[in-house]
Symmetry: C2
Subunit: 474 residues, 2 copies
Amino acid sequence: MAYRRVDIEIIRQIRSKIADDKRVMTEKQDLAGYSYDGSFGSYMPEVVVQPKSTEEVAAIVKLAYENTIPIIPRGQSTSLSGGPLPVEGGIVLDLSKMDQKLEVIVDDLIVVVSPGVLTGNIHAAAERAGLMYPPDPSSSAVSTIGGNLAENSGGPRGLKYGVTKDYVLGLELVTPQGEIIRTGGRTVKNVTGYDLTKLIVGSEGTLGIITEATLQLIPKPLGTATLMAIFDDIVTSGEAISKVLTSGILPAKMEIMDQACIQAVESYKPSGLPVDAEAIILIEVDGHPRAVEEEIKEAAQICETIGARSVRIASTQAERESLWKARKMVSPAITRVKPTKISEDATVPRSQIPEMFARLKKIREKYKVNLVVFGHAGDGNLHPNIVADKRDKEEMKRVEKAVAEIFETAIELGGTLSGEHGIGNMKAPFMEMELGAAGLDMMRRIKESWDPKNIMNPGKIFPEPGQKLNLTEG
Amino acid sequence: MAYRRVDIEIIRQIRSKIADDKRVMTEKQDLAGYSYDGSFGSYMPEVVVQPKSTEEVAAIVKLAYENTIPIIPRGQSTSLSGGPLPVEGGIVLDLSKMDQKLEVIVDDLIVVVSPGVLTGNIHAAAERAGLMYPPDPSSSAVSTIGGNLAENSGGPRGLKYGVTKDYVLGLELVTPQGEIIRTGGRTVKNVTGYDLTKLIVGSEGTLGIITEATLQLIPKPLGTATLMAIFDDIVTSGEAISKVLTSGILPAKMEIMDQACIQAVESYKPSGLPVDAEAIILIEVDGHPRAVEEEIKEAAQICETIGARSVRIASTQAERESLWKARKMVSPAITRVKPTKISEDATVPRSQIPEMFARLKKIREKYKVNLVVFGHAGDGNLHPNIVADKRDKEEMKRVEKAVAEIFETAIELGGTLSGEHGIGNMKAPFMEMELGAAGLDMMRRIKESWDPKNIMNPGKIFPEPGQKLNLTEG
């Protein structure tokens, strides 16, 4: 596709549609801040626009459509899969300034939000009303709901509560033609035609720009309790996870850290973690206080019976936070080892977690990479992280091969390339491996029917012919 | 679209692809049994095929595609919106014989099913494993999972647990071209490309034929309790519902019956229901037994404080069943009044339920129709049912107008045409009213890109130009 470059005439037209000149940026130093995200690689936009209203978004998209210019929506750039990278240049729409609306409607158990609102602010607003917005991506204090919607973000609570998509009732969307449409509505039940809402959530900005969302809230659970269990071997920890889940308990969170993770955290900030243990599991239950009290005891007993080395229960807020500290230190601890972090989210059926850990161990040895694994064990969503130094081309070649083998292994075990980070540009070359040619073709038909000029976030999800994973350039 | 008729040559080709001649039906008396469903209207298929494998389905779809013949999937024909009606003739695929697979995989909390399996059998298989498949359409004892998937069926438990779509992790699908694809997988988290799974669920057989599904199960709640509250006026009952939901309790079910309903049930089988009350509410909570015990007491207290005339709590299975009896008698009771039942499922935001009841009362008076209302009050999904006699053309004209006004009212109150029954052919004329021209166009783009010959269940969801609701013909 031949795109028109953003020239002086286009800039003039953009400025005529955006009330405030400061919200249209063309200077190199301004653009540079929009050239990267939380993933690998860097690409310069041609212009950055900060719209503040749906009408401004629609006007810019219409202009891009008429002139065949790429248009890339962006929130707070915490994406780990390259979602907001302008890989073909064009117009970056910085939606973080479009954060006017955050309206909790208690009687309908919903909240209506603008795309630039931070997800953490939605959590806080819901809690003030005695309600809860369950999706909790680890980035939620700093990521926007628009980004969460585009990527269908997950998080630890996915086990019990599902992911972002499960809480989206309706959207306002600017289509690739610049039309404003509304999908879904304000009700949990809605079968009026195709579910465009759930098609758009997770489509990574390739089908339109989300300008408003109506999200479902639930009553806030009144009780919470946490336990930490330490296991000498990781297979036993997998058995404990299965046993808890089939005992009638559905925990809110079930997190796992492997030995490499434990060692990295302990050498970063020594706090007495057992560096000889193969796995630490954290289980959190929430709900009615009396149920929570019994369930956490039952879960502890199951872990002990199956063979945990030790189990600790935390009931107060302070005790809970101390148990979670180790898990929260994983990211800073591992980036101390080497500067470049490749964070994956290969997801397997729950029963395959022990096998996945065994395979990841082999991959670590085979390619001599710094691979640590943690993640959401209850729903099979692991985070194999490789830390490396991107200036070391030889090492990056080994990382490339290790990453490819991680993807292949996840699919071989009946899992998926991506549980919660999205495909972006980096995983696009692996799409056909998971979906088959016919499956990928059905996705492409949708993309082409909605966006025939391929202006909406081009270069994402769909592989270019012959495209391969490349971690040594870009 | 000019379809090819099913002639002797097509029949010969169908027979060459289906192993057993008895599974290809062309006799008029056989076809007649496939001309209707649970909705209004009757249309004759040209041939009925009962495939038993994905390969047979793919072969028949390929044949239909090559020859441009309509192809209509069908389960047990309990649809209330015309889903399986062959309105353009063609090949009806009776999938009820394709029921070989019903495999619960406990460690992964999933069940893999063939489309012809009865949903009630999935409930039973999950329970035997200590698990639960939450979606519970009222038809589940007699409807197939394939039909539930095509229509994205709801049910009373939608309030707490969501609908069919929320439990579908993956599908095997035969595309309109006869290709076999797999969407999603076996994991709760999956963001690999567009969510074809959730696009197909609820697409009413217009995008392909579902030949296998992987469904999520959850741990079975160990306790259940029910209460019945009687209210002198319906507005107060709406307040009680809101108050319970914002008190930290999320009931599994919250059902409501209006006065016309109470009177119909009481005159059908007198059991001491208060015929002067404006509303009866049933609330069921489930979960940990200790939580359930407290929550049902709290809910009862809220109802009493807000002004219920009386509240009864049932804790044993027998007591619970006795409370549910009135609700379960609604359907047989109202069809005793008149033979033709038009069952709608207009859904409004929860806070609009009292207003919706007031408007429905006006519609009943304005058009002098036998309108009763019951439904799932907790999630705003009401069932306004009109009973009439379809031989009485004058009455049916009034019913037509009343139905149209019900749809308009639901949309005016921020709701939707259909909460759980689907659009089918009857509601198609109202689609643009809810979605707008641009919104409907985006759905149509998907349909055309997947099924350019419009062979998959034609006449459903999308209105023909100028199409109007018609209850006096067909």
